[in-house]
Symmetry: C5
Subunit: 334 residues, 5 copies
């Protein structure tokens, strides 16, 4: 006798957990972002530290306090959810791994409003377009969906996004552009039931940010440009061997820059602005070597074209300026 | 008295967990892959983020809802499984470490259909063949088996595989080839019982992808080719010392490329296409040094062979073109 | 009957967990820091290992011992908190990830004083200003707030901070400046309820430390200065080609220092002192190349200005000293 | 009354856990290795992914099924073990960190045979001897012992080891030598009780594998040899300065190889074969510099020994061949 | 009624956990170290894998077996400790993060002796003095204290330390010096109660080890010395430009060694022996450049001091030998 009762008591605890979802829950969300950090251009990821606040009206009065509101922290909140308070699981669609939640809390007010609140940290991913790197801007995105409940059961209501005012914006590589946006949409999946599409409510938060290119200007573009300009000195040098060896040294240096850009960016199937500059660099020096050898050959065959070299003193800088303009123009046009 | 009853109540909970498997369960699976990322050619691994959906008919009516279907998320699903709902453990054969399951869910419908669903992320491994690198294609594989139940108890039924339409396919290094495939087979083990083979049902998902070689063309093959071409300038230089020192510089540069390829690929017991190019490079420059020293020796001994050098101006480029053709031809033939 | 009683017994355990917070709790804190280590200038993070001690008066006499004090360690402390002893959750605002707590303890004395004590280790972040690097000082900050309870419910009282006397201060890169400070303030949030601001009590601990620049002086500034001084030797060299090639070698070396600084510091949108030195270095060598080519051009055109070179033997060192003075003066002025 | 009964019921669950070990348990083991991977020569570690199967006769009939066998997976197996089924803890002696067990299972048959089975992944360590590197072979070892039960209580019986047939053995750096071995021995410890030795049964699995040296031949030994051979060209160069500068360049290159080997191997208190080659390389070039300067000094003092240089054209290659033979001979002799 | 009884039964389980500590517990310890590995000189950390055995007399007879001894492994040991067996928490003072305990065990004998035993692995830190690097010795330290119980409640009794005989001591970088020591002392803290000092018993284990410098001799000091010696060849070279360019090349090489030492050691506020060698190296080459330019200037002004160069052929080696002797003498004196 008593055995059965205890068993059914335990079982009834389990049955609580899945309330009959007669009506659609409307979940209001508010995301407050403390920090976007660890932007990794090679892996195309970024870390987000923030607070997620979700709230809805719970028709079931079981857990309502008599008055005011009651706060359940961490393990107490888990206990309450295990006992049967309905709190849906949310998942970030574009997360890598799991989010960490250092603290979480459930607040229930006497009028049946349930608020679930957590501080989360997670590694997120988005497709980044580096074609204009380092003059690019990127959109940091967080996409959230309920894990189990379809749109007819759970729909996102009002959505607010809030970025903490950063104290020292001047010291960061990224500058936020415009206001962050929170958008509620619907996404459809076909993977659960063969024939039927499932519809889920989706919350998309997007923050647009512009990269400050100062770092790359001072540490990359300026020295590379100086090296390119210095490489033209080869046209004033006398002597074939001296010309060639200087050109070789310059070329190897510029090629070394290729390796440097490898550590900045992922293995992209396209070239970035900064790489087009490097390629332009070594192709230009290679052209100089071709010119030098060509002059030498003609010279040996007794048909000197020594006048070619002085002309190059003008042609190479001119071509460089044109190429740079095109690069920047193409950039502007995109 | 009461002690015994409580004990047996708790014990009976335990006994539930292993239903007498009279009939064979047929498990239908559907794998939906969000993202294959972090392809690491050095470790021959890749990360997979996806959803695993498995479903079967449960003859035991204990946990069926009266009508419709009931959803159990995360801890509620764990409770249900601990209480006795049969959900088999699956393992990925070719996983490294454990898979992470941020969310999981059990759905039971009134007609006895049980659906287990999880979002998983894991690091998988497969043997990759890099002999044509960077013009290679690879097959990303996921192999799944039930951990405990042999084929007579559990067999995979229909298997579906679904890849999320990637928004910006143009920005990724890999291009999917054909349709992904899901195949059910049988694998045999002898490690449990000495004499007897165990038969397990195995689900194999394979996705073939082609590497886009642009990155390696622009950042590796083009500069390496230019350096090789530039190295032939040595045959126009006058003077033994100048020739030698220029050759040495070029040779050291090409050798430096050896180190660079080390960071791209694992320590393979065979050479890749890109490494064959590098080896061809420094062997060709070494040959030039041999020629230069040979000419010098003959010259010192009073038997000048100075005509050798001009001939090399033709021979070396010709040999290079032939070697390249062979390399590419061999590639095509494989 | 018995089922209800057991259920309500279990439920009453749950209800205990959120005491009616009629009065404001005053929480006294004491933070004792063992070690600040792993200062990572690239990520702008540092690890802190310390003890957190918080204590308050608990009006509810349920858990008080009859006399003396009772100690609950680790799992026993967790049990007590799960059973209903009120211990608020604290969070570090500027932490990355979660803090690890190897051991924790609750002490309750007969007069109702509750002390919660933990050893924690965490990775913290703060905005660092590297403009004077490596002659900079940084402030290591820990900001702590209660996770759920607003100021009207929980306020920080006295706050003590204590740094373990380090045995071998001479062997560390950082030297503590002045006394560490603990400050209690109030911070306001608007993200929970739409219209209403929440007020939380905040404890801020700040420790100021000066970097010892010896490492950078010996391994960076001294060799860089020697290379710069050595580069002036180019004005004594005879011959245009020799001058140019020497300058090129020096310039490439100084540019290589750019790469080295990349591994020391994050991608900052401003230049640090040490980078301004490097930039000054390669710009100065580039200027020398310009002068050398200019002299050559005038020479070719028959208007020799060979007297420019000897003058540079004085001008370059003089400009270098002025630039260094300005750099240091600007530093002092900041 | 009832309180006592419940308490003693709970307590009796605890008492079950440590069966009176009157007789010695004989544990048969079978280890099946899926993959040995991540061989890290710098840390002297390797990762092992495999299945561990242990089985023994349990005299206590409490948990036996009426007929056939019963399978308990993961949490159900844990519950059973917590309730009192005796399953000893095993530890790997040479593991780094803990092993991960993605899935585990207990099978109990009607005749009292208990089988515990887990899939494990772990990082293992062994002392590696690199004196013949890269022509070395290593022995990958797994040592397992029961954690608590001494030999009189638990002894390993039959031990089987099984390596999965690798599909593409040709693509791996290591080649298995002979058959893997499983050996049961006894190990003695004195650290528990002061005066008395404890005896534990130990299972040692060892797999011998030969490194395929192809990678190091093509990417290291071939280019290094070519550079050494090319360095002899210095004896054909005319002019003291040219000779010296060429030698310097070669020497610096060979020294650079020292840095490269640092990334391959740990900081060993002995030299490996590959390092002896490098040391031989730079010492040989240093000797060439000494010869060149010596000839120059004698020349200045009016006692020319210019005949030394041509002789070196023979002596250096000859010494190199002898040194190589000795190196390989010593290798063979070890 | 029954509700109260159950509640008080559960509560009484909790009360057990903190026995009235009338008498002082004397805890005997024995630490057995398997392996000290992963010595990281940059982070000044090392990993320790070992067994910790602690034992004491428990006056409370509740958990004693009737005869012999009873073994509780892992979860069974946890259950026992949760139920009320007093096992104090220990913490390592100088640990980084938490220790991992793969297995743990409690043994209780009929005479009331309780033995707690665990295998632990942890990352430890100590201040290392690298001033004599690579001829330094270091002391690996483990400091352990009870987390909660002061000296009047818990004091360490006999302490034994045991290092596993390493099979292949010859293959390791470190050589143990003398016998490891275990020392019990008292440490005082003021951070818990404002005015009153707490006294804790502390166990300090220290193992002294000498670094074998072979690795650094062959891969660092020998090539660096050869380069320095080779750099004196500059005093035999004819021609100002050749002298300068050779000196520049050598100087840049030695400066490159600065970068190499950065990867070996942390950013220390003092110079190590190996760095003083490098600094001596580039300062010496810089001095040579100064001499060369000085001679050139005097030469141009018509006051040749060409005799300076031959003298340098003696002065530089002599100064080098003196500096080396001083370095080694200072080393010996420290």
């Amino acid at each position: 006798m008593i055995k059965k009762e205890i068993l059914s008591a335990i079982a009834s605890l389990v049955w609580f957990c899945s309330p009959a979802l007669y009506a659609q829950y409307v979940v209001d969300t508010s995301v407050s972002i403390n920090k976007i950090y660890g932007v990794n251009t090679v892996d195309q990821t970024y870390k987000v530290d923030g607070y997620l606040v979700t709230s809805w009206d719970e028709p079931d009065p079981t857990y309502r306090p008599a008055s005011g509101e009651r706060v359940y922290e961490n393990h107490h909140a888990d206990q309450l959810m295990n006992d049967g308070l309905w709190v849906p699981a949310f998942e970030f669609i574009n997360i890598i791994g799991q989010r960490q939640t250092a603290n979480r809390r459930v607040v229930i007010s006497a009028d049946g409003r349930v608020t679930y609140n957590e501080r989360f940290q997670g590694l997120f991913t988005t497709t980044m377009d580096f074609r204009q790197f380092p003059f690019d801007y990127q959109t940091f995105v967080l996409m959230m969906e309920p894990f189990s409940y379809e749109q007819k059961q759970l729909v996102f209501g009002t959505a607010r996004i809030n970025i903490e005012a950063l104290e020292n914006q001047a010291l960061s590589e990224w500058q936020m552009q415009g206001k962050p946006q929170a958008r509620v949409s619907r996404s459809d999946y076909a993977h659960l039931q063969s024939g039927i599409l499932s519809h889920f409510s989706r919350l998309t938060i997007s923050i647009q940010a512009l990269r400050k290119p100062d770092y790359y200007l001072w540490r990359f573009i300026l020295p590379l440009s100086l090296i390119l300009v210095a490489s033209w000195a080869v046209f004033w040098i006398e002597g074939f061997s001296e010309r060639l060896m200087t050109s070789f040294t310059m070329m190897l240096t510029v090629v070394a820059y290729t390796f440097y850009t490898s550590s900045l960016l992922p293995r992209l199937p396209y070239t970035t602005l900064i790489e087009r500059m490097v390629i332009m660099g070594y192709v230009s020096i290679f052209a100089a070597i071709i010119v030098i050898v060509f002059v030498k050959i003609r010279d040996e065959k007794g048909r000197p074209v020594e006048y070619v070299i002085p002309r190059c003193r003008v042609i190479f800088p001119a071509l460089f300026l044109i190429a740079m303009s095109v690069l920047i123009g193409v950039n502007g046009g995109l």
